[in-house]
């Protein structure tokens, strides 16, 4: 049998997935087995993600990390079942389910890491000495000064606060969304618009041409 060497946490074979997904909506024993199997798959994803992000929780031991993974898997199970009618089979069901576990685990870890940290929303730069030093006459330093100026002049106060919090102070986007009572989508749209304005301002001032900056937040 091909599954003889499979462990409990291995993803199920692809040929079983259709029946498995169908069983998830059944009452009785078959439904319970399908749900247990889904929880195992989600736990595989949440453990993976919690372990990847463990450096964000320097004081956490294995027990606390496992608790976080279990908690995230429980929450992800609810999300998957709620979204089950939207599964269209464009990927394996296991892959589709994994992403819910990864999302939930990432959010849990980041929330945990920031739970005692205050988040301020500065909307100005504190520049102690405005005169250029030798290192500041470099091209990179000139660009940085131009970006600082554009942040001050080209962005709305809200765009400025969001961009500085996310990209300068490195506040995670889901943590900031939760603190501000908004959504990750709304913050990302604000950030996208802010970047568009910054790039336009830098282009207008001759600091950018066709150069494309490729990095992540």
């Amino acid at each position: 049998m091909t599954t003889a060497n499979r462990t409990e946490t291995d993803p199920p074979p692809i040929q079983d997935e259709e029946a498995w997904v169908g069983d998830l909506t059944l009452a009785g024993y078959a439904g319970e087995v399908a749900l247990r199997r889904l929880h195992e798959v989600l736990l595989r994803a949440t453990r993976h993600q919690v372990w990847r992000l463990r450096d964000l929780l320097p004081g956490a031991g294995p027990g606390e990390l496992e608790d976080l993974a279990q908690q995230a898997a429980d929450e992800a199970l609810i999300s998957v079942l709620r979204q089950l009618p939207t599964f269209q089979g464009r990927s394996r069901f296991t892959t589709w389910a994994y992403k819910f576990g990864i999302l939930q685990a990432g959010a849990e870890v980041r929330r945990h890491a920031w739970r005692h940290r205050e988040i301020t929303l500065p909307d100005t730069f504190v520049i102690l000495d405005d005169s250029p030093s030798p290192s500041q006459v470099t091209e990179a330093a000139q660009l940085a000064r131009a970006v600082e100026s554009a942040i001050t002049t080209a962005l709305t106060p809200h765009q400025r606060r969001v961009a500085l919090a996310l990209l300068v102070n490195d506040v995670p986007i889901d943590v900031l969304a939760e603190r501000l009572g908004t959504t990750r989508n709304a913050l990302y749209k604000t950030l996208h618009d802010a970047r568009t304005r910054l790039r336009a301002a830098l282009l207008a001032d001759g600091y950018l041409d066709t150069c494309t900056y490729r990095s992540s937040t």
């Binding site: 993803p11 990864i102 500065p122 940085a144 500085l164 102070n169 986007i173 490729r214």
Partner: protein, 77 residues
């Protein structure tokens, strides 16, 4: 408490100026992430301009995409 802002590092400048067009939202990215990750797992050169732009601009989504891809690779081996 978050740190007061003083100067911008080159990395921060690059993140502020990242070109994130064509725009898709975090929800759009999440909706497409499973299919995108499977295609990337099969072909590391698979390209999706909108997904690539979003993952350039959103650290959380990029981290989740990396995690999913890594998990798929782990499953495959």
């Amino acid at each position: 408490m978050t740190d007061p802002i003083s100067t911008l590092s080159p990395d921060t400048v690059a993140r502020l100026l990242a070109d994130t067009s064509p725009y898709i939202s975090c929800d759009d990215c999440f909706a497409r992430l499973d299919e995108y990750a499977e295609r990337r797992a099969r072909d590391p050169h698979h390209d999706d301009a909108a997904m690539a732009a979003h993952l350039r601009g959103c650290g959380a989504c990029a981290e989740e995409a990396d995690a999913l891809l890594e998990l798929l690779h782990t499953d495959a081996h």
